[in-house]
Amino acid sequence: MTLLSVRNLRVTFDTETGPVEAVRGVSFDLGRERLGIVGESGSGKTMTGRSMLRLIRPPGRIEADAMTFDGTDLMAATETQMRALRGPRMAMVMQDPKYSLNPVMKVGAQLMEGLHQRDRVGRTEAYAKAVAALNAVQIRDPERVMEAYPHELSGGMGQRVMIAMMLIPNPDLLIADEPTSALDVTVQAEVLSILDGLVRDRGMGLIFISHDLRLVARFCDRVLVMYKGRVVEEVAARDLLNARHPYTQGLLNCLPRIGGNRGPLPGLDRTAEWAR
């Protein structure tokens, strides 16, 4: 079943030196599965994720031939309709907890804010739900974290708080923008298994945005590889080693390997036809 369908998505920013196309014609379908979007900085992967929620501010413009989420036309939806979708139906975990959590508000208050505003639940119930969400992302001491300010949390904890916050309304689609890039490998594995459990148990769709090709390959079902705003290759994660596109191969080969030969790592050749 298709949850999200995107056809020919373009994101354009008008700058002094003329329009800059951050995303140039991206199309994909997503069911209740884990889709990875991989690319270097500036490849348009974050912009693609934000477009789904129409979270691009002017002067940025979103254009698409079609963008539908579970029967709703996202291009035609009014701002009120979008507000109803954001949160309960589709949610996004932003990249950096340092910049995405409110620094002057306790974590607990931030977690409960949505419950008060959107669901009109009472104080006690909201508190219980927030603690349950923190438990779900395996925070050991949820009562203490509820009373903490974001700067009192480590990067890994902050990241998990953001995931918990997005999961409280139980969305059908979660867009996770580099949710683990600030984390150590061991914590990274933990956060991934949390996300994995949610996709399996709740039947959630997941878009996982990352620059780490190996991580995405290990975790996702399908991978879109982006370069300069275009999808250069779509490949099933298990076939990634046999990826045909030179850019995908380049991204794979430039990573050092344990037990590798220690020769100079191959760089990316950006001169070929596809790089234009």
């Binding site: 490998v185 061991t186 190996r214 380049g250 390997r257 344990i258 100079p264 760089g267």
Partner: protein, 252 residues
Amino acid sequence: MSLIEIDNLSVTFDTAGRRVRAVQEVSIKVDAKASFGLVGESGSGKSTILRAICGLAPITGGQVRIGGEVVKSPRSKAFSAQVQMVFQDPYASLHPRHTIDRTLSEPLAIHGIPDTDTRVMTALADVGLPTSFRFRYPHQLSGGQRQRVAIARALMLKPQILLLDEPTSALDASVQAEVLNLLARLRDERGLTFLMVSHDLAVIDHMCDRVLVMQHGRAVEELSREALATAQMQTDYARSLFAASADRMLGG
């Protein structure tokens, strides 16, 4: 005698109301022209060891010897001519209001070394940056270019030892490859000794001959490159770190 000798190093911070034992009795020996890696999760004390060597963190127990001599506090000019550090975040480690030229010529001015002009130009060329970058500011450079400037700055005084604190973790995979290649080339050309910190075992394995796994400020296990490649670790923690490394997925 090894070039870098660290004996039972402890670093303790006294903060309001509690003592944080960041590093507890860690010993390391690194031979000249060898590369040694430190891995562990955040808070394991790996960066603190590098900072303690440079004098950016207090040595509260044990000894650090460079070339057989115990380091003095504060560190001398001779020390900085011999040991230099490259920091993790190229966005934070360069002065935002200083041009690249000023960043690179400052160590020369402090040490009274002449020929600033030619040395700055050579330094830029050595790290693969065009000389037209000389009068730019850090915000005009990309992350990879900034890290090249940071490496150039560390090499201005021609040190024997480079302390590398996660030099590539803020960079894209392809840019990481370029910076690692640059470091390997400079090491071969100049006979440098590296003490490198990373949370990525694959990066450490690529660059270093030996690696020390750390957890909670203590040394857990020291591994040779061969032992790492063939997964012959003795402790559970080192094994879990190895298993969690994203590299394993494509091991086959």
